[in-house]
Symmetry: C2
Subunit: 198 residues, 2 copies
């Protein structure tokens, strides 16, 4: 997606801006974060400098969203490649989400807690995103292979990730006080049993 002819050009500080923005958005929300906040957190001293890297504030969020979904999509591909059975694929996805929650909580905050279309009205809803479309496909496979109960795949997705994501949300907000990892195996069991053919 990069049209740059040179290989590395500006990317350095651009990434710092994105990183700072992610952190601040996750922490205070998009509207409570000013460009000055982002500049300051990026090592730059003035908001104006940001305009050299992004057309405007929204574009920062847009880029962030795209990056996250992109790498998520890649991870999903990898997961589907390495695992055969839908149950195993789903399990690996859960693994990934729990790991991200502990190791990159801002990313999960961005995905699970922020109300993205409040500041990115044009953005595709999470569920229509490549990564999540593939997850539904996994569920669909699970149904046809007899691992998952024969219900509307979208509903199965809703139930399964309702449990997973709500648990992670509770961890992210501090309502559950241990690391996500501590709840992982139990939560997986509950979520899987909610949709598995018994």
């Amino acid at each position: 997606m990069d049209q740059e002819k040179d290989t590395h050009t500006k990317t350095e500080t651009q990434d710092e801006i994105l990183l700072a923005a992610l952190k601040l958005f996750a922490e205070k929300g998009y509207f409570n974060t000013s460009l000055s906040d982002i500049a300051e957190a990026s090592g730059i001293k003035t908001a104006s400098a940001i305009y050299h890297h992004f057309k405007h504030k929204q574009m920062i969020a847009t880029a962030l969203y795209a990056n996250i979904l992109d790498s998520l999509n890649i991870s999903i591909d990898e997961i589907r490649r390495k695992n055969q059975k839908p149950s195993e694929q789903l399990h690996a996805v859960v693994d990934l989400f729990f790991k991200l929650t502990d190791e990159a909580p801002e990313i999960m905050q961005f995905l699970l807690i922020l109300k993205i279309n409040e500041f990115l009205p044009e953005a595709k809803p999470l569920l229509e995103t490549a990564a999540f479309v593939k997850i539904i496909k996994v569920i669909r496979n699970g149904i046809s292979e007899g691992e998952i109960r024969n219900i509307d795949p979208l509903l199965a997705q809703t139930y399964f990730f309702g449990i997973i994501q709500n648990t992670l949300r509770m961890v992210l907000t501090g309502a559950l006080d241990k690391k996500a990892e501590a709840y992982q195996s139990q939560t997986w069991l509950i979520a899987w049993n909610a949709i598995a053919k018994k």
Copy 2:
């Protein structure tokens, strides 16, 4: 909580303001809604008039939140009075949530979709609210009476309402295209089985 000596005074338009604000907040979010928007939607023609009813914008949201939680709390009390077994009480709560989703979607949007502490930093988190504390108590009872599996009540609550609320969220955002009612009985079963002692 009203210190008014007269019985009915201003309440008329105040409620219209709250109603309009609720609708707009649910639809566009707090930060995308200006006082002018609210004024216009309230039948008033100027934002200034609002200051006669509320000290500032935040207070509108605060009042809204308090009202919603208040009436929710009352409903929960009623539910606990009318039903004995924890399972029945939980079922009635689910009934209420699904009914509200169909009949007063803005309220459920406010509760389930808006990131409340982004614009009300001081507000109590939902879970620490009287209504939700009582719900946890119901779950606790369910555990000691042997209806619900013996796990951390907060986790049980997380799993159970993860399913319920995610389903309602999908209805509210239009990802699930039927009325909430259409999914109610199936969703209840799944959610209940996720925490019930088998």
